[in-house]
Assembly symmetry: C2
Homo-oligomer: 149 residues x 2
């Protein structure tokens, strides 16, 4: 009898564990949605420190027509606009965010406008895949690739 009670307890613990996991996944998805919004605000305000902090230290980005860029310093350099340039209306619209343990993959669309020093504007949009990693409890971008539409 005692053993049966133990088994039932273990079974319930396992169900509880699975339920907690699903609940956490929803929380993780919401966190990643918020981080995508935050990232756009950093791009729009040229906040390069926070752009860098949005990536893992060993992150890789895959810009169009260029090599894979690895590591925060190089990534921030890529994002840094020339003097007088600014980005506005940067927006990320995720289509799906799926969390698997401490990894998540996320795909969707992005858009934005570059305002040049002379005021000329050019808008762009495209699609992306991001692989996120949970590092010390915080979600960071590990792989970030995109191409235009």
């Amino acid at each position: 009898m005692k053993r049966l009670v133990s088994y039932i307890f273990i079974a319930f613990s396992m169900i509880q564990c699975v339920e907690d996991k699903n609940a956490n996944h929803q929380k993780d998805v919401e966190q990643i949605q918020q981080l995508a919004k935050d990232f756009s605000s950093y791009v729009n305000s040229s906040n390069y420190e926070m752009i860098g902090a949005s990536y893992t230290k060993d992150a890789k980005i895959f810009p169009q027509r260029g090599k894979i860029i690895s590591g925060r310093t190089a990534i921030v350099k890529y994002w840094t606009l020339p003097e007088g340039f600014q980005t506005k209306n940067h927006k990320i619209t995720p289509s799906e965010i799926t969390v698997v343990e401490d990894t998540a993959y996320d795909y969707g669309h992005y858009e934005g406008t570059t305002v040049k020093a002379d005021g000329e504007e050019s808008s762009w949009k495209g699609k992306y895949i991001i692989v996120w990693k949970r590092v010390d409890g915080k979600w960071k971008m590990y792989l970030d690739i995109w191409n235009s539409i």
Copy 2:
């Protein structure tokens, strides 16, 4: 004492489980490496049936300068070359394949040459991210994005 033995047994089972998982991961990585080689051979031989079968039914591809293409039929249509055209020397070189449960992410480089009907050749290369899913025990591409170098 009996309880202690049970606990030790459970602890060893858990360690065994983790070890099995790591061993499987290595096997999974090798399977995905082989599937990448297989995929190139299908592209080089215009084997559209096997190109389609390399993707999950609900897969998405992200071609350059176009919309996200969803589902096997549309994906095969994208890969189908015009009459008289052929691809040769298609090759995928993964830099990292990481397996997390029934999901894997994979990034690296691709290259190939298109031979046109008149014999003219154009070579291309670029970088990619693929998200793989294990479906009925087989790894299939779920998300496939690339851009040129």
